[in-house]
Subunit: 352 residues, 2 copies
DNA sequence: TTTGAAGTCTTAAATGATAAACTACCTAAA
DNA sequence: TTTAGGTAGTTTATCATTTAAGACTTCAAA
């Protein structure tokens, strides 16, 4: 069995001929402590030589800080199919590293369970929390918000029923979905279907649905319940959903899909039914996954910046952990409509 | 600023009228200690009532165990584009949770840097390590192997130059690549291109290249350097690589692509050049990403089980951490060729 | 010569859980 | 009556670090 030869500050101290305290002062650059340049240099040299890294546990215990943030992925299996979550993960990991934090990844199957992730907090494993794809049935969220626990929600809409302040990093899901739908309307479509990318329990799903509906209403088009079908993250769910829509007597001529992965399945169903995209059925997605520009036809979609989401989340969480005043509690990230071939706007395959 | 009201074992002890030690014994179910059922019940009740969760730092410090495993993603940006890594992440997270371990996610930009992830080990943040997509230029790996640090490598081929025992969970990359190429040969193709999915520095890439070459050799076909182009994880890189291949005077009739994401770009390039898949150019991928069956045409590919990889890695690492004897140090996971439309095997769109 | 103050480092307490060693009590056997 | 052994705990040391408080120099000023 492997046993770590722990190099302690004690050893560094002994070798440098000083006390543990001095070692701590030097390595942490404590100001106000007068350590002679000679001693400082010697301690640093010895620490380097022995490859000394302070024991995390001891440091956490005495300081109460773990320098670790928790990353909760609400419905774990989404990680397998949704292409946007990994991008968020990447961004969060990078920026938290930059800010001096480690990332504890917690994938949760069922957030409605009372202890889905709160053991991380109670056990003091983490200093703060970021929740990806918060759900409205999250059992521990209200309590955390009430207690002002450092917490940032990603993909969480306006929420007023709470007893505390909710900090979130979002993009304008309603606006973007509306924009996407309006683009289809502008191309002359009058009967437009919508396939959601997950159950309505997710706020992001609700938002996109709302934007779709708003665009229809403003254009004076009928909102038809039968043209709204639920997807469930996977391409397969999109395939099935689109097949159902294609069974309708009065078929739509366009479909706005809640995310790109689901849209891949949707496109497959359309093509398998012998219809052409966009001539017979226009398709618009959401997320701009890395392969979106290379599907056939290239997918028109809403582009979000995972990097921006990640960066802003980490910055916000860091402030919350430090107890700094966070003025803006709902940071919006930009989004844009990327027009490609699948919606009927004809031009060369857009590779951007 | 939020300050946690730490509930300590001291408080539980006081409330239950026992010592801290007794609380520890009861909550950890230490055997051989005689605690009366009455006391046990009272302690459990009080712990429950106060919502007591042992402080992680204190526990780590005294036990030397963190109950946390490190998860290193070798080249961080792959997380954004490669669809297989998130699946692995999901599997690892799930199975480690099941085994009572937390997951510390470390994305590394450059493993050749001397301290890319070893600070996790030296700082005793983790009990063991899993490295996804190990690279041959990893700077700290030889040292860790020599020291017998609990370590599992995923996607690591045979490696003999090491001074210690290397533990790995792999699939037969050479064999699978060979199988895929042989399938194309069996369909009558004589000139087959290969597009790698990443620089040759990755072992998985080398393996797939090797399998491709082996199949050609065994079939007595010429290995043409000009037909092997390097991709770089993204669909875009596949698009560019395929364009280059299509410039050749003597074009191939089939292409074996190192992974599915890259294959998406490859297919786009083929279709944009006015060629049909599979009639003018057959395509086979690798990984069976969730959207593979829904591309047009559906992509023939090699299916790996991320769950199997994850499960076996965690099981192996757990043994290593415990110091148990690990007999098999190179566990192979299964893989299979999934035949769909893109290679020329005609049948209905296969949704499995 | 004494006092003060700055400079340089040390001592000791504290963090919260675990585990080895120890205690106190009771019962039953010698 | 003494002793051994079991029962049901407690006391105390330990983990490696941080930090408040203290201590020892050295030099200058009174």
């Amino acid at each position: 069995m492997y046993s770590a030869k722990r190099t302690t500050s004690q050893e560094v101290a002994a070798r440098a001929g000083v006390s543990r305290t001095t070692v701590s002062f030097v390595l942490n650059g404590v100001v106000g402590m007068n350590i002679s340049p000679t001693t400082r240099a010697r301690v640093l040299a010895v620490a380097e030589e022995l490859g000394y890294v302070p024991n995390a546990a001891a440091r956490m215990l005495v300081s109460g800080q773990t320098q670790t943030i928790g990353l909760v992925v609400s419905q774990a299996e989404h990680l397998q199919v949704d292409a946007f979550i990994p991008q968020i993960l990447y961004a969060l990991s990078m920026y938290s590293q930059e800010a001096g934090y480690r990332v504890l990844l917690e994938t949760v199957k069922d957030v409605s369970k009372p202890d889905a992730y709160s053991h991380l907090i109670k056990g003091h494993h983490i200093d703060g929390l970021i929740i990806i794809n918060s759900r409205s049935d999250d059992a521990q969220l209200p309590e955390l918000i009430r207690r002002n626990y450092p917490l940032v929600l990603m993909g969480f809409p306006d929420w007023t029923e709470s007893s505390g302040r909710v900090h979130r990093v979002t993009s304008d899901g309603v606006g973007s979905a509306k924009l996407a739908t309006q683009h289809l309307i502008g191309l002359g479509h009058r009967r437009i279907a919508h396939i959601t990318f997950s159950p309505e329990i997710y706020f992001a799903t609700q938002d996109r649905h709302k934007g779709y509906r708003l665009a229809l209403e403003e254009a004076g088009l009928e909102y038809d319940q039968k043209l709204v079908v639920r997807g469930n993250y996977s391409a397969e769910s999109g395939f099935v959903a689109m097949q159902q829509i294609l069974k309708a007597r009065h078929k739509p001529t366009a479909v706005f899909v809640g995310n790109d992965t689901v849209a891949v399945g949707v496109m497959a169903a359309i093509q398998q039914a012998g219809l052409r995209i966009p001539e017979d059925m226009a398709v618009v997605g959401y997320d701009d996954i890395p392969t979106a520009a290379y599907l056939s036809p290239a997918l028109t979609t809403i582009r979000l910046s995972a990097l921006e989401h990640g960066q802003k989340s980490i910055a916000m969480l860091q402030k919350l952990i430090r107890g700094e005043n966070v003025i803006e509690d709902n940071i919006k990230c930009g989004s844009e409509l990327v027009i490609r071939a699948s919606c009927g706007y004809k031009k060369n395959l857009d590779k951007t």
